[in-house]
């Protein structure tokens, strides 16, 4: 089974559902905003981001583990669900997971750096967007509920329709400025899956919150570099990682974008 074909084949169904919503001006504007502005993002913590920038290729769990035992040990309780989902589809072990993103810091509970892929690159990836987290479609670890999944999946050309269908009811009490967070936040996101290689050359920018950025410079570097007051060993190591990342971003000409959330 090919997940990307399933996504493509759902286009007619999405168009029909979307047409039913388009009497609403807000939904039309939302849909059009997603259509023009979408890309995919992956949230990473410092260690994973530095590794990605150093090695140049984003590795998935199958690349990172050397044997089935190691894979099972790493995934723990999720082993059965993850492998069931991935191995149901052709090239499933090449799948990399991200999220639909039109702005913002993404899923900050899992990684404070939001790696934004260039729109031009995202648009040529083979992509399948799923309305919910893919695990939702694996039942009791027994198999993937394809009938349910095929209604909730879109390719890149129809992802704005999937987003509009998903957020139809949320739009009423949201300002335009809140749309990016509504689409991609800790509690709610549209999962993006690709089998294509994600290279550091595909990265448009890396986003980080102003709070975190300022803490590194104003609380830690200032005190440590100029011997103003002691900082703890973990903070010194963290500054080292932060600097390594900035060196790598400079070498690869990737912008670190500071986002003020206030």
């Amino acid at each position: 089974m090919n997940l990307f074909e399933i996504a493509e084949n759902n286009s007619t169904h999405l168009e029909a559902q979307h047409t039913l919503l388009t009497h609403d001006g807000d939904i039309l504007r939302f849909s059009s905003s997603v259509s023009s502005g979408w890309t995919i993002s992956i949230n990473m913590r410092q260690c994973a981001l530095n590794k990605f920038l150093k090695f140049g290729i984003y590795k998935n769990i199958y690349n990172l583990t050397k044997s089935e035992d190691e894979l099972e040990s790493h995934l723990g309780e999720a082993y059965k669900t993850r492998t069931t989902f991935d191995r149901t589809f052709e090239n499933g072990e090449l799948f990399k997971y991200g999220a639909l993103n039109i702005g913002g810091l993404g899923l900050e509970n899992y990684g404070n750096y939001c790696v934004m892929i260039k729109r031009t690159c995202a648009r040529i990836y083979s992509l399948a967007f799923i309305k919910e987290h893919s695990f939702k479609y694996v039942h009791n670890g027994d198999g993937v509920n394809i009938r349910e999944l095929e209604q909730d999946v879109a390719d890149g050309s129809h992802v704005h329709m999937l987003a509009a269908i998903k957020h139809e009811e949320d739009l009423g009490d949201k300002q335009d400025i809140e749309w990016p967070t509504m689409i991609c936040c800790n509690e709610n996101y549209i999962e993006a899956i690709t089998k294509d290689e994600i290279s550091e050359r595909h990265v448009d920018r890396v986003r980080v919150s102003q709070n975190y950025y300022n803490s590194q410079y104003n609380e830690y570097l200032f005190n440590y570099a100029y011997n103003i007051s002691d900082i703890s060993d973990d903070e010194i190591y963290r500054l080292g990682d932060f600097k390594e990342m900035q060196d790598l971003l400079r070498d690869k000409e990737i912008e670190l974008e500071i986002i003020d959330e206030s």
């Binding site: 999720a78 669900t81 509970n109 590194q216 830690y220 103003i228 060993d233 973990d234 963290r238």
Partner: protein, 204 residues
């Protein structure tokens, strides 16, 4: 009463952890400020383990408060770095971060140097900040930064001159005190006393 706190999932290489406090779950992440502590659901923790590289924590240890947990996570992170054979960077190495700092950061450094360090007598640190920032190529694009740097360097020069004069005066007049105490502290105290003005009421 002892709080029922335990770590339920951890990412040691980054110092992140999910902590259970009775029925609530809190995410702890650097820099561990109060505002960063978000409450999450069990589903979030599961997803963190399933997809985002967290490990289920089998540390059978209960903590008395969040502070103890943060100390534990920090030690765990440092231990991870040491196990990897990574040395701690030196202050000089980390000064390289100034090359990437945005203008707001540079201005805040200079404001702290002028408004906090110089009044405290930390002239060498203030001068060092201004001199380091003066070395950055891109500061020429920001006249405010250039102006602040020159202002601080001038202030430092004048403070150093005052320092030397005061030091000479104290050494001459009060050799015992100036031999025993740090001159910068004496000057700082002298300045604070002078700024406070009259301490005792003059009774006529």
């Amino acid at each position: 009463m002892k709080a029922n706190l335990k770590i339920i999932a951890i990412a040691s290489q980054d110092g992140w952890a999910f902590v259970q406090e009775d029925t609530r779950i809190v995410l702890l992440k650097p820099p561990y400020n109060y505002l960063d502590m978000v409450h999450v659901t069990r589903a979030t923790v599961q997803k963190a383990i399933d997809i985002h590289g967290f490990e289920k924590c089998d540390v059978n240890k209960e903590f008395n408060n969040i502070g103890e947990i943060i100390q534990y996570i920090k030690r765990d992170y440092v231990q991870f770095k040491k196990t990897q054979g990574i040395d701690m960077p030196t202050p000089e190495e980390l000064k390289g971060l100034l090359n990437y700092a945005n203008d707001d950061v540079l201005i805040s450094y200079l404001n702290k140097a002028r408004n906090e360090l110089i009044p405290l007598g930390k002239i060498i640190a203030a001068k060092s900040i201004a001199s380091d920032l003066k070395e950055l190529d891109r500061i020429v694009e920001n006249p405010e930064i250039c102006r602040l740097i020159e202002e601080i360097l001038e202030l430092c020069k004048s403070e150093m001159r005052n320092f030397e004069e005061t030091k000479a005066e104290w050494t001459h007049k009060y050799p015992n005190i100036s031999g025993k105490y740090d001159m910068a502290s004496i000057i700082c105290l002298q300045r604070a006393t002078s700024q406070r003005g009259q301490l005792l009421r003059i009774v006529g």
